[in-house]
Symmetry: C2
Subunit: 270 residues, 2 copies
DNA sequence: CCGAGAACTTCCACTGAATGGAAGCGCAGG
DNA sequence: CCTGCGCTTCCATTCAGTGGAAGTTCTCGG
């Protein structure tokens, strides 16, 4: 109702201009719900979103409203916002997620039933192993992994398998950076990693022991599509024991082969 | 390099202006990948996106590029676009999807193991049952349902359970519209549906038979959170048989109770 | 009960970012 | 070689988005 001009920009001050596009700002808002403060920041207030996205409050308000009206964010009674169901709906439509998961799930279930261990399905995405699926039973054991998590390639069973069958330039680039050591047994030396990769290609299975989480080991095997390319990896994560259980190895191999066959892979001329 | 003005808008012609905001246009692009032509249109060309989103090609080009740079869409070698992994990553972070799924999955696995039937987990979203999870084994039987699918409330086991415990105004509104009859046995008459809902509330389980898919029946039970509110439903879908298997009913009930307990529900004073 | 403060919502003049028609490019088929 | 189709780039125009500020609501403490 007032007639006063609102914009009163400070005269000589150098204002760091924000040259992000509208789209980039919208994305920044969603990214605010990502991993920043870690695990449990799944719900944010408007102000918190504005801070994380580094946007003025009024702009945030308007853009958040756009997200909410579309369903990408949802507003709760208490005024907090969280990621909306629409994102989930579209997310599960993502081709790789949808197809791989659908096809692999039954085999993962079988693997879980026969071994009763944590079962993982992961793909290579950028420099990480991206966890597509996880079956865990009622174990009290907490693992770092969860669906949607990203874990390093060199310290996880699935990661090492994915790396073993990745294009050489990917391996090259990955090993060019310094690899984080999580536990004393984590292999971080590039040449040592290369040796392991070669061994994995030879025997078709990766054996990890106490390299990411104390007390747990894993067995992982590659999943191939109809072109023979490795597109994913399955693993089971067990409590570390002295002996390697050949039956477990067999179970992991069978699961990987089952999924591969379902994807159209026909055993190559051995 | 030319100096000619590009914009040569037809003079007297009435141009239907598009008053969608940038955000709305961006969303329209994602929606183009949704359900429009049905199931398998998971990959589109630029032109196809422009058509479906009803946007000029150049605008589409620019906005699609924004999505791609963020990871919401990904561009394949052949020039086709599909939903990107980023959407999946954010999607699985969605609170309800994440929490419910994580908590429920082990119980769903148990249910699958004991019954060996299709297992479903769904929530009420708008006027539909939204399928959060589905375990299916290697059955050849094709079901309509899949993760992320939306199916009607009155013709599915989970749907009817969700409706039975929904707020009265939701029920009112749902029954106010005409309900689709899929098969001869689908109950579509509002009063008849209300009767079923009352029965479900009484016995705590929904029994459906040949109301959505010929030859299959389902048993569904409600999942409650710590406040006692019904937040989801589990079901098994079986081939229709003459007799009701009390053990199956028991298994479904147990699964629902298990999840409810895990969500913090303590059996109310009966 | 009132006042301070924090968080959210609305307002609106200004402007630069988004727009989209057209031209340019690249490729496949005739 | 030409034609047609689909994608990419260009850029003058303009209007949608912007964000500072004022208004509103809610909570907490005195």
């Amino acid at each position: 109702m007032s007639g006063k001009p609102a914009q009163t920009r400070a005269s000589g001050d150098e204002v760091a201009v924000d040259d992000r596009s509208v789209a980039a700002r919208l994305f920044a808002i969603l990214d605010a719900f990502g991993a920043p403060t870690g695990a449990t920041s799944l719900t944010l207030t408007l102000t918190a979103i504005a801070q994380r996205a580094n946007l003025p409050l009024s702009t945030t308000h308007r853009l958040v409203a756009e997200w909410v009206s579309w369903g990408g964010l949802s507003k709760h009674e208490n005024g907090q916002y969280s990621l909306g169901m629409k994102l989930w709906e579209l997310g599960v439509q993502t081709p790789t997620a949808r197809n791989l998961r659908t096809i692999a799930l039954p085999y993962l279930e079988d693997l879980y039933e026969t071994t009763r261990e944590h079962v993982h399905l992961a793909i290579l995405d950028g420099r990480d192993a991206l966890y597509l699926e996880k079956l865990s039973g009622h174990h009290v054991v907490r693992l770092i992994s969860r669906v949607g998590a990203r874990l390093p390639l060199h310290s996880t069973g699935v990661g090492l398998v994915l790396l073993a069958y990745a294009p050489t330039d990917v391996v090259q680039e990955y090993l060019a950076t310094s690899l984080q050591r999580f536990l004393p047994r984590t292999v971080t030396e590039p040449e040592a990693v290369r040796k392991r990769l070669a061994e994995i290609r030879l025997i078709g299975i990766a054996r990890m022991s106490e390299e990411m989480t104390a007390g747990s080991s894993s067995l992982a095997a590659p999943i191939r599509d109809r072109t023979g390319q490795v597109v994913a990896a399955v693993s089971i994560v067990t409590r570390t024991t002295d002996t390697v259980d050949p039956e477990q190895e067999q179970a992991v191999r069978l699961a990987a082969q089952g999924v591969s066959r379902a994807l159209g892979y026909r055993r190559a001329q051995q």
